[in-house]
Symmetry: C2
């Protein structure tokens, strides 16, 4: 039986999703605990995609194939897993899916949200937002986000790209929601290049700070050259908010799922 | 010059406030970084009191005496410290105080808040609240909290107490604020015994779950015997919210300062 699992994680203490030597990873934690659950049989978990070291997920999606085992229902699996897993990784939901569901290949799209805090930093918001003073040129930021929508060559906003890969991606919605001193930069698209959202945000903060305007931001995009853009934004402000597998749910997300940390 | 500092910290990765061998502590981090700031002179930081391993602080208060040093103003100290400190410890404010101010001896009172989540647990709220299903007998919880107000012998709600110490403390306000699935148990008092709030909460959840009522809760208090109470609640739901040094501010706190983590 194939199982679909929805996972939330605080990326702070992990080297990202994907298993790698010498670093704690989310995938390793989950595979290890699933293996314990299924009498030490090896379980392979496939996610919708990797997230980098330090990046958070509100609803990462993955699947695994259940081995022959005693009758464990989904509720029991969820409870047992959450008892074994560290508190910064939680299984939110688990459901049976057909064998043709694939967490990575069946994806229609995803929403990433990058959180910027232009207010006071405390020990809690500091881990879930990028503290950036003077993000205030909201009108120009909104214009810049509109420029990103549609099919674009995002060569300027990715790193370590393999030259043969297609650098075009479709962003169906790029928008800004501001609440108090928090600015949520929301990107929904069919696919994203490596470090694409963080690269975009790294240049968008210069628009927000009034150092460049939206037409200069557009120039960066059109140059199709990574060297034209500014530094990549740090990982701790980035959330994988939702992964879409069917047309009805595509692009429907709730920003309230992002931890909103009031500031003193 | 004596400096008063307000500190926020996420206690998750620390062995509490007070310096101890073989564990990372908040005090050690701050003293180390202050020492770096003041050209490696030894600086001693005195807090309003300790917090235990895993307990968080929204506004811990401490003081230190500035050594002879080049002219660093408070804004510079704050910025430099927050650049050097790990992100889960933040200096919120720094101000000059007179030499007779003492972070521990001048305290008039404190507010602690314990957060219970009876909704779905995710990777974020799981670190800042105790996930406890079935906390719903709100009326009896409120009655139990009223019983705690005033001067009481809290022997039933403390651990490792030195028999010669006075087990009486004054709680000026004990109240419950519920928001969605989150329950904030707020305790304001002139002083607290070791693990007192967590011991109280450990028994209050049995009231919330309907396993005992407020008169049985009162019996536990009146027995003045730790063995009558239930287990101590875990540290990760507890926040030191505010420390009071003058009558005008006493008991005035804002629950919005607690990280409120919306749940999916």
């Amino acid at each position: 039986m194939r199982k679909k699992i929805i996972i939330s994680y605080d990326g702070t203490n992990y080297g990202g999703w994907q298993i790698q030597p010498n670093r704690n990873t989310i995938q390793e934690e989950i595979e290890k605990k699933l293996s314990m659950l299924y009498a030490w049989q090896k379980i392979r978990v496939e996610a919708s995609g990797r997230t980098d070291a330090g990046v958070h997920a509100i609803a990462q999606t993955a699947h695994y194939d259940e081995p022959d085992c005693p009758n464990l229902n989904n509720e029991k699996i969820l409870k047992a897993m959450n008892r074994m897993l560290p508190r910064d990784i939680r299984i939110i939901r688990i459901e049976d899916v057909s064998d043709d569901f694939h967490a990575r290949f069946s994806v229609l799209g995803k929403t990433y949200v990058y959180v910027i805090n232009s207010g006071i930093e405390n020990a809690f918001n500091s881990k879930y937002s990028w503290h950036y003073n003077g993000f205030k040129n909201i009108y120009e930021v909104r214009k810049s986000l509109k420029i990103l929508e549609g099919k674009q060559d995002f060569s300027s906003f990715t790193v370590e790209r393999n030259e043969i890969d297609n650098p075009e991606r479709v962003i169906t919605e790029a928008k800004l929601v501001s609440r108090g001193t928090y600015h949520f930069l929301c990107f929904t698209g069919e696919g994203f290049l490596y470090k694409m959202v963080r690269s975009i945000v790294g240049s968008l903060v210069f628009v927000g700070a009034g150092k460049i305007d939206s037409s200069q931001f557009k120039d960066i995009l059109l140059k199709k050259d990574r060297r034209e853009a500014f530094d990549t934004a740090p990982p701790h402000g980035l959330f994988l908010l939702k992964v879409y597998y069917n047309d009805e749910e595509y692009g429907k997300y709730d920003l309230n799922d992002i931890p909103v940390l009031r500031v003193r």
